[in-house]
């Protein structure tokens, strides 16, 4: 049983929504030695909104046999005293509608994030503790481990800025990172292609050994803007070994808006719309 994936869900959905920008929720203190790299990271950090509401979020997972399953929902996230609060409520398919997740980041590093799950069938909230970061989220190709990998990577002072490249007709900065040994990641390296104009990553490769295992990619045409914040309306995560993929689509992104506290309260997050 892999209920532990809930731990990363809101972070991850944010990641899926705004790619690397979401990952930078946790990297504000990063201070790379390379000024050029620091500049790129600072620009990306500027894309992180204080609050976020995604009206329509869709996850379409395609398995090896070509079968697809689609989940739709709504996401709310904010930073409260520097700590992340995120809630995802499922809207479709109908038999899953009403299910909700809540993640509340804790201040102490030794304490795991608080995660809550509400299932209409049980009609009660369960607090979930423990579980693995490697698990997939709702049977998709996203998992907490990739998010943590990005988070760790962008915190890594040993990251390198490689020669700029062209991707989808746009100039991109290429960032390469290796995880710290202590991180215990399944991935050996990470490379991100960050659009120079918007500071949004258009592609991220997750390496197992010498070869990429997963690839997160988006088209430049999916770039959109909410206020001063850039994000992607569609991205795709591919598992290059298993041959599965998940497409994430978002619409109705609102940043900087006031969000009701009940969305992030373990006693009421699942109530109402």
């Amino acid at each position: 049983m892999r209920i532990g994936v809930l731990r990363g869900v809101s972070l991850y959905v944010l990641q899926g929504a705004v790619l690397s920008a979401a990952a930078l929720f946790a990297v504000a203190a990063a201070a790379p030695g390379d000024p050029a790299l620091a500049k790129v990271l600072a620009c990306m950090r500027a894309n992180v909104p204080p609050t976020l509401r995604i009206q329509d979020l869709e996850l379409q997972a395609t398995d090896r046999a070509g079968g697809t399953r689609t989940l739709k929902g709504r996401l709310y996230a904010l930073r409260e005293h520097g700590l992340l609060r995120a809630m995802l409520r499922i809207a479709a398919p109908p038999d899953l509608a009403g299910a909700a997740y809540l993640v509340r980041e804790t201040a102490e590093a030794s304490r795991a994030d608080e995660m809550y799950l509400y299932l209409p069938a049980l009609n009660r909230v369960r607090r979930i503790a423990g579980a693995s970061a490697e698990d997939s989220f709702l049977g998709t190709d996203f998992s907490y481990s990739e998010l943590k990998q990005i988070e760790n990577a962008f915190n890594d002072a040993d990251g390198q800025l490689e020669a700029p490249a062209q991707l989808d007709g746009r100039t991109v900065d290429v960032l390469a990172f290796r995880p710290r040994a202590a991180a215990g990641s399944r991935y050996s390296a990470l490379r991100a292609w960050v659009d120079r104009k918007t500071c949004v990553a258009l592609k991220v490769d997750f390496y197992e050994g010498a070869a990429p295992r997963k690839e997160l990619s988006a088209s430049a045409s999916a770039l959109a803007r909410s206020g001063s914040y850039w994000y992607l309306t569609q991205a795709e995560m591919r598992d290059l070994k298993d041959g599965t993929r998940t497409v994430l689509r978002i619409t109705g992104v609102t940043s900087g808006a006031d969000l009701a506290a009940r969305y992030f309260d373990p006693h009421s997050f699942y109530l109402g719309n």
Binding site: M1, R2, I3, R64, L96, L122
Partner: protein
């Protein structure tokens, strides 16, 4: 057909150079120059035996495509005194980490990674068993109970006695060659030794077993081929006492083998349990051909002692060309009959063995004589045992003639008796028990099979083709009933499906209340639990659309018959599932069982076709269906004995034993042909069959015995294999071939002693002069073929000039037809010779004696004469076997008599 022989014989150097060049190319094709290892790949998987488009295979591929992953590698480590101590749980955690870091490991499933949901109030802790033990040592005491209560882990993560922990490793590859190359098992053992020094470790799973099979096949190949060479080389050395002859034979067969391997490489054929037999088989067949060739070569020294090398080569080639071609043809017919088999591995065997036989046959015929001349074998001592075998042949002939009826009776009793025993035969094979009891792979498998609830997997693919059908409790109920049924079967150790996962989730999210260890009442609840709680594990059990799922059963039995019995019962259960539920058993084990079961149908057809084809070939060869039958019968008996042996010893028909009947039938018939051809020649020369049996046996006993010994030794080389199937193949092939030799030495002479045979070769080369049907009245109205048939069933005699053929006053019943030359008919009266007539080609003489009267005149040859002599027995034989020809001959004989009477009447009047 053999027009090329003189040309090849005249250019030995060109031939030797061409063959050696070809061998060089073949070597370059077969061996990787960088590693000096053969390029030919070994595929030990059961799927390799099945057709690429087989429906079963398609189901397995669909299952793997949908649910991913090959079968895992199972590692079991004993932790004394029990797994459930803080120290040992830490070791398990450490070992899981180390195993996870091994190259190619995608995931490790163990006590350190499997989540154990613990409910406490509204909180659910989902961490691994080892993490919980570390966080709360008091939890350790509860672990056995928690494991026993969880159908996902019961008997899976820890042995029932609590001393052995299991680690299921999913690898990102399924190539046994990589497994062996990277010494994966060695790395696992090293990791275990680091964490738990001295702890016993067992490793099993499809991949390790395939790797072990591939390694065993490699070793069998590496052992059997040289072993055949050595054994048969010793035999050749003893038999021919010539190192140079030995070298020539070995080089010829070696090159043929190289060409066979190069062809297999070029055709991208892979060696499997069946095709791995081909190399040693080609060597054995080649060396048996060499025995016939060397016998002819050494005979040439006495027959044409002054001949030049090219002349000798041509003589030898012509001497063995027909016999060798026929031998190779019957052998190939035996192989090709296997093409009817549904298993592609057996069809690949048939092609490869055919190709090898063609190579070895052609090279023996063409290359070896040239090589023998080049090596200069003229001064070698005469072959060993010729006189001994000749004497034995004479004694054997006397025995065969004396006990003819008894021998035939025994054979006729043996056939139904063996067929009765054969009714006990079942198609089946042991998979892991195919290895010797001492083999590490078998010991590991059996240890894990004992400690846990089975080590063989049977997967059941449930398909509904309806989205969300498997989330519907109404559809889940029959599947639950199926799981319950499975758990009651004696062969089944454990069963896991998404339903178990569902129940565990339901209980965990409902405060660990046992009441909730059940399927929820609504489809929505089922989906919510599985989608939000199932995580990655659920992807391996049910598809995202909830339209298909897999139920995995671990079974404790290993042999295909027991598994087949279980599958038969299972299939009945699966067929009874209500729509839209459709299910099919699959998995490597199931495919292997189906592959073995598929043998039975194709096998009988192959044997019948081989028998029919050989009978047809021999019928053409001997120009008579009856003669073809008599030549085939001695080879049917050993095949029946073979099947009787299988039934009597309860040996199952498996991919290798199913080859034997056709192989032996194709090979053993060569001896029959050799004997009958020699018998035919001797009988024609002597004019009587009885004496010909002795002379033919005396002549062929040695080469046939040596060739059989060479083949038996070749097959016995397989008994050194680590794989039981190959060992069985070796013993049974040698035994069946030995039985065929016995049949050829006893039954063939007994059956043939009353048989006048005509060979196709005789028919083609028989010279009856120009237009015999027009120039010889007895042949009037016959075709050339019919005229030759009659001539061959008679006796062709060459008589020098001045010889008396018929003496006046004698009682004799032979009739003569003059083919060439002139005779005079004369009487002697009062000391005077009175010539009555001079007769030439076409004249029929001696017919008065044929009708029971004394000879009425002398007949002397004036020139060298060729005669056809026949009697009433010959005519009766002709009537029985070729009635149309006989009718014409009788009509002609009557006409000749009538004309003669008319002439005499005219003279008198």
């Amino acid at each position: 057909m053999f027009f090329w022989i003189p040309r090849v014989a005249r250019h030995p150097r060109a031939l030797l150079a061409a063959v050696l060049l070809l061998a060089g190319v073949a070597a370059a094709l077969s061996v990787d120059p960088r590693t000096l290892r053969p390029r030919l790949r070994i595929d030990p998987s059961a799927e390799a035996l099945l057709p690429a488009h087989d429906a079963d295979r398609a189901v397995l591929e669909r299952l793997r495509r949908t649910f991913g992953d090959e079968d895992p590698v199972i590692v079991a480590v004993r932790f004394a005194p029990s797994v459930f101590t803080a120290e040992n749980l830490e070791k398990i955690d450490a070992l899981s980490g180390r195993l996870q870091k091994l190259p190619g490991v995608r995931s490790v499933f163990s006590l350190a990674t499997a989540p154990n949901p613990l409910a406490s109030g509204d909180e659910l802790t989902v961490t691994s068993f080892t993490a919980q033990a570390r966080a709360n040592p008091a939890q350790i005491a509860r672990l056995p109970q928690q494991l026993a209560a969880n159908p996902l882990y019961r008997g899976t993560l820890v042995s029932r006695d609590g001393t052995i922990a299991a680690f299921a490793l999913r690898l990102d590859y399924s190539d046994p060659a990589r497994y062996v190359r990277e010494d994966f098992s060695g790395r696992v053992r090293a990791a275990a030794a680091t964490v738990a020094p001295g702890a016993p470790v067992w490793i099993t799973g499809t991949l390790p077993v395939r790797a072990a099979t591939a390694a065993a096949l490699s070793r069998t190949l590496a052992f059997s081929v040289p072993a055949v060479f050595v054994l048969v080389a010793l035999l050749l050395l003893v038999a021919f006492r010539s190192l140079r002859a030995l070298f020539a034979a070995l080089l010829t067969v070696g090159i043929a083998l190289l060409l066979t391997l190069a062809t297999a490489t070029a055709l991208r054929m892979e060696f499997n349990l069946v095709t791995a037999i081909v190399p040693a088989l080609v060597v054995a067949i080649g060396l048996s051909y060499s025995i016939h060739l060397l016998a002819a070569y050494f005979l040439s020294r006495s027959m044409i002692p002054q001949a030049a090398p090219a002349e000798r080569a041509e003589w030898v080639m012509k001497r063995i060309a027909v016999g060798l071609t026929l031998s190779a043809t019957t052998t190939i017919v035996g192989f090709l009959s296997l093409l009817l088999n549904p298993l592609p591995a057996i069809r690949a065997f048939a092609w490869l063995a055919t190709i090898g036989t063609l190579y070895v046959g052609f090279l023996t015929l063409s290359f070896t004589p040239a090589l023998l001349n080049a090596l200069g074998c003229d001064d070698e001592p005469p072959p060993f045992g010729q006189r001994l075998f000749a004497a034995l042949g004479q004694r054997l002939a006397r025995f065969d003639t004396r006990y003819r009826i008894q021998i035939i009776a025994v054979a006729l009793v043996l056939i139904p008796l063996d067929l009765w025993f054969a009714t006990r035969i079942r198609a089946g094979t042991e998979f892991i028990q195919g290895f010797s009891a001492k083999a590490q792979v078998r010991r590991d498998f059996e240890a894990i099979n004992r400690a846990f609830d089975g080590a063989n997997l049977v997967q059941i693919l449930i398909d509904t083709h309806v989205n969300d059908a498997l989330a519907d409790p109404a559809q889940i109920r029959p599947l639950q009933a199926l799981e319950d049924w499975l758990r009651k079967q004696p062969e089944v150790g454990a069963v896991v499906s998404y339903i178990d996962q569902l129940k565990v989730l339901n209980r965990a999210l409902n405060g660990d209340d046992p009441v909730y260890f059940a399927v929820p009442d609504s489809a929505a609840a089922v989906k919510q639990l599985l989608v939000f709680g199932g995580g990655e594990a659920i992807q391996h059990l049910v598809d995202p659309r909830f339209s298909s799922a897999v139920i995995t059963a671990r079974i404790t039995v290993d042999d295909s018959i027991a598994i087949g019995d279980f599958l038969e019962r299972l299939d009945a259960q699966l067929r009874a599932l209500p729509p839209p539920l459709a299910a099919q058993a699959t998995g490597s084990t199931v495919l292997a069982v189906h592959a073995v079961n598929a043998l039975a149908g194709g096998h009988l057809a192959s044997i019948l076709i081989a028998g029919f084809a050989i009978w047809a070939l021999l019928s053409v060869m001997f120009y008579s269906m009856r003669a073809g039958f008599i030549a085939t019968l001695p080879n049917v008996v050993p095949v029946c004995v073979y099947f009787g042996t299988l039934g009597l010893l309860h040996i199952s028909l498996n991919p290798t034993t199913s080859l034997i009947a056709c192989i032996v039938l194709g090979i053993a018939v060569n001896d029959t042909v050799h004997f009958l051809a020699r018998f035919n020649a001797d009988a024609r020369e002597r004019g009587a069959e009885t004496g010909a049996i002795a002379s033919a046996l005396a002549a062929v006993l040695r080469p046939i015995t040596l060739a059989t010994a060479a083949l038996c030794l070749g097959f016995l080389a397989f008994t050194g294999s680590e794989l039981r199937a190959q060992v069985q193949f070796g013993w049974l092939s040698a035994w069946t071939l030995f039985c065929a030799w016995i049949a050829d030495m006893l039954l063939t002479p007994a059956l043939g002693s009353k048989l006048r045979i005509v060979t196709l070769w005789d028919l083609l080369r028989l010279d009856l002069g120009v237009s015999p049907q027009h120039t010889i009245p007895l042949f009037s109205g016959l075709s050339m073929r019919q005229a030759r048939l009659f001539a061959l069933l008679s006796r062709m005699e060459e008589v020098p000039a001045g010889t008396r053929i018929i003496r006046e006053g004698d009682y004799a019943r032979d009739i003569y037809v003059i083919l060439d030359g002139n005779v005079e008919v004369l009487v002697e009266r009062h000391g005077e010779r009175k010539r009555l007539a001079t007769l030439g080609r076409g004249a029929v003489i001696g017919e008065a004696g044929f009708f029971g009267q004394r000879r009425t005149a002398h007949i002397d040859t004036l020139t060298p004469v060729r005669l056809l002599r026949f009697d009433s027995q010959d005519l009766e034989r002709l009537r029985l076997r070729y009635p149309a020809t006989a009718a014409t001959v009788f009509r002609n004989l009557n006409r000749i008599q009538a004309e003669r009477i008319a002439r005499m009447t005219a003279m008198v009047s």
